[in-house]
Symmetry: C2
Subunit: 168 residues, 2 copies
């Protein structure tokens, strides 16, 4: 596909983004019901570490993350979505880099995230973005997982990425 | 019903509480699927403002809340559950009071929460706990609601309670 000429603009997320995100995410996830995983509270209370990407006023992607409240120095990426028509052009990377910068500015030296071991694309993306996989039990293809991390049968790959040493 | 003699103990929530909470909440909510609303992140990153209540080693209730990251001075109660067999004995009040104390200790002067306008018990509970209802459109019984706050057709009553002036 061709990418439109108008640029993507990434900005802090706002409460008013909640409706636009909720109205598209089930589609972006191929029909899976995702809205419950993204309560409005993230659009109200974590706007300094969460971002919306727009192209021509349309939502191109978003990232919801926060600084851990009870683990000083740690930040966490909860949810990232990219419009299917915008995939493959580095927008996920740009959103993560915005988050890294915000986390670093907020005093964090590491970022954590989790994903499902069956989501090979996500595992590979996190590795390209500099995340290490945390030790765990042997999962599919020998990837280390935390068994039952997100509930019965819901194994997760846990990632951690150091921020120290990056060029700010 | 009679209340057992052994006391309820309220303590900070821990990552290991995630599985016990997830295994009971659908039952506590009368079969509604609630688990997606309570991702594990709250049990990992907000343990200083979230609490578990136990009686005889069994989960009696829990509260998940946090200090707003992007609204200094504000705290938010996301999710509270009380075992049906423990209801009516003040455990909800005790959990809220623990949260108020933690919020105040963390420098907050106000607490927010939302509930569905059809949940009259929750509306009355918040009013007893000193919350005011924020202005909005007229909902059921004239209660002010934010229309569509949690998505299409999902009106919410928004509460705010000042912490300043309480005896610490």
């Amino acid at each position: 596909m061709t990418v439109p000429d108008s640029p993507v603009r990434i900005r802090p997320i706002r409460p008013s983004d909640y409706r636009s995100v909720i109205s598209v995410i089930d589609d972006w996830w191929g029909g899976r019901h995702m809205a419950d995983m993204l309560p409005r509270l993230f659009f109200e209370h974590f706007t300094d570490t969460s971002f919306a990407a727009e192209r021509d006023g349309e939502l191109a992607g978003f990232l919801v993350g926060f600084r851990s409240q009870s683990r000083p120095g740690e930040a966490y990426i909860h949810f990232v979505g990219v419009n299917p028509g915008e995939r493959g052009h580095g927008l996920g990377r740009q959103l993560y880099e915005c988050f890294f910068e915000a986390a670093r500015a907020g005093g964090c030296d590491r970022v954590r995230a989790v994903t499902s071991p069956v989501n090979r694309g996500s595992v590979a993306f996190h590795q390209r973005m500099g995340f290490d996989i945390e030790p765990g039990e042997a999962g599919p293809d020998g990837i280390a997982v935390a068994a039952g991390y997100d509930g019965e049968g819901q194994d997760r790959v846990r990632f951690v990425r150091r921020l120290a040493g990056d060029v700010p």
